[in-house]
């Protein structure tokens, strides 16, 4: 019995969709706009996330060791740092490597190189570059460094300096910037999605308002409420599905263009992002389209069914 009902409801919804061509086209277009907003926001979030990650990657804390510190001592200190939960990774640069880097960086600076050559020993110490999992965690890493000095056997400190305090201002500013950008992005997303949902809901309400006399007739003929409401919900779901597919197709050329022209600016090739997340995006669009269509129709028919 219930299967017969469901079969009839689906068939009736499909027939209505086919017969009221103009209403269907208009509704699908409105749905497509809403889903395009959703897709654009997915891309916006991805781009924002990607750029923030790139910036985060450029921040680190460097520990400069004295020239007396031996390699095993530094490496054991590195090990203890890597055990911290806040630390993403620690990279070691030996004194010789640091000197080589310095020479490379100042290769054109003849005077500096000459002065360096005058020195009997390597004046540079080894360094450890520490990357935190999250920029907000540099503070606690710096605290750890302050409390757990690396000492040699005689008890003298091996650490020459930690550049956290010099970077602190940049790090703090970056943290508030990232937090702000994420909050703003979320807010904008929320507002745009809400507006699109309201527009879509109103479109469905209008199509059902046009059919209000039909609903009255169906009630007089003795149709149960779910039997009247069902086809409208099926129609809404069809709008959602067709609009999802349409949106996916529209974004294919859009991302190809963005991928070939805007990748440098955005720091992310959106076409590659789109293709590698094609399935997830389709699921998100189908899910929101179907939900929006069904729920809108459910709510919009309610006022005509409870009279």
């Amino acid at each position: 019995m219930i299967w017969i009902d469901i079969k009839r409801i689906i068939r009736s919804g499909w027939t209505n969709f086919k017969r009221s061509v103009f209403v269907s086209i208009a509704s699908v277009l409105v749905f497509t706009i809403t889903l395009s907003v959703v897709t654009s926001l997915i891309f916006l979030q991805a781009t924002l996330h990607n750029s923030l990650n790139q910036i985060k990657d450029k921040v680190d804390v460097t520990v400069y060791f004295t020239t007396k510190a031996s390699e095993p001592e530094i490496l054991s200190y590195k090990n203890s740092l890597e055990k911290l939960s806040e630390v993403e990774n620690v990279s070691y640069t030996s004194a010789a490597q640091a000197l080589q880097n310095f020479r490379d960086r100042h290769a054109d600076d003849y005077l500096t190189i000459e002065a360096l050559d005058e020195l009997p020993d390597n004046p540079l110490g080894a360094t450890l570059d520490i990357k935190a999992k999250d920029p907000t965690q540099y503070e606690s890493i710096a605290k750890y460094l302050g409390a757990n000095d690396a000492l040699d056997t005689s008890g003298a400190s091996l650490i020459y300096k930690v550049n956290y305090n010099q970077n602190k201002m940049v790090i703090d500013r970056l943290n508030s910037l990232i937090a702000g950008a994420q909050k703003l992005g979320f807010l904008v997303t929320l507002i745009l999605v809400l507006i699109s949902i309201m527009i879509t809901f109103n479109t469905i309400r209008l199509t059902i308002h046009m059919a209000r006399e039909e609903i009255g007739v169906m009630r007089l003929v003795g149709a149960a409420n779910r039997y009247i409401r069902g086809p409208f919900m099926v129609e809404g779901i069809i709008y959602g599905v067709v609009a999802s597919v349409l949106t996916m197709l529209i974004f294919l050329p859009v991302t190809i263009w963005l991928g070939s022209h805007m990748s440098a600016f955005l720091g992310l090739n959106l076409y590659h992002y789109y293709i590698s997340n094609l399935f997830q995006i389709l699921i998100i669009l189908l899910g929101s389209g179907i939900l929006l269509g069904a729920v809108s129709a459910f709510i919009a028919t309610r006022s005509y069914l409870n009279k």
């Binding site: 019995m1 017969i4 009839r8 027939t15 209505n16 017969r19 009221s20 006399e213 039909e214 009255g216 007739v217 169906m218 009630r219 007089l220 003929v221 003795g222 149709a223 149960a224 409420n225 039997y227 069914l305 409870n306």
Partner: protein
């Protein structure tokens, strides 16, 4: 079958549509309800269908108090009543066949029953060839015959025809009345509202006359007198 007990209906702003109406209709009767426009004929019908609720008094269909039914019970009540309207009230996006099939689907009939019954009833009202037409592709008489076909398809106990001939020419009017008489002859109760004197006189059965919301005359084998 139908009982009105001291029923009054007052619309907001105080316009009285029915005043203290008491009447009863037995199974198998053919009752014509006559009166000028605004006499309360349509309100009487709407009260039976629970489209409107009485301001005071009670309306019974068999032993159901119509004014107190919930949504689900209302649906069941309406399946026992076939209704024909002056403005047909067909579903515009459905073909003649689908309009009738919809009424059967609503009543929970199987596909087999629908496939065997719908062509039969379309034949009965002489619309077999128009089964794939939409209402807007049919004439007034054809639409009204389709509405009658829809009203009788579920074999209701009561047929209510509210001014069914109001929009029709004399030939179509005659046909519709003949179909209603035939339905009544087969045992179904029929309530017909009209202000067409010729129609009432040609039927020659019980006539209830309303005037300004009051029941002023109830005569067996009556004529249209105002």
């Amino acid at each position: 079958m139908i009982n009105f007990q001291k029923v009054s209906k007052v619309y907001p702003k105080g316009s009285v549509s029915l005043e203290d109406v008491t009447l009863s209709i037995n199974p198998g009767e053919f009752v014509s309800v006559v009166g000028h426009s605004g006499a309360g004929k349509t309100t009487l019908i709407k009260l039976i269908l629970a489209e409107e609720r009485a301001t005071s008094g009670e309306v019974f269909f068999e032993n159901l108090n119509v004014g107190r039914l919930h949504n689900g019970e209302l649906t069941k009540l309406r399946r026992k009543i076939g209704v024909v309207f002056q403005d047909f009230k067909l579903l515009p996006n459905k073909t003649a066949y689908e309009n009738i099939a919809f009424a059967m689907e609503s009543a929970g009939k199987t596909d087999e029953e629908i496939i065997s019954s719908v062509p039969h009833v379309l034949e009965l009202v002489d619309l077999a060839e128009k089964h794939a037409n939409f209402p807007h592709q049919m004439s007034g008489g054809e639409k009204q015959r389709l509405a009658i076909a829809r009203a009788i398809i579920n074999e209701p106990e009561l047929i209510i025809a509210d001014e069914p001939t109001g929009n029709l020419d004399p030939v179509n009017t005659y046909e519709v009345v003949q179909i209603l008489k035939k339905i009544n002859d087969l045992g179904t109760t029929v309530i017909l509202t009209t202000h067409n004197k010729g129609v009432v006189d040609s039927i020659g059965k019980r006539v209830i006359t309303l005037e300004k919301g009051k029941l002023v005359r109830d005569s067996k084998e009556g004529k249209y007198v105002l």
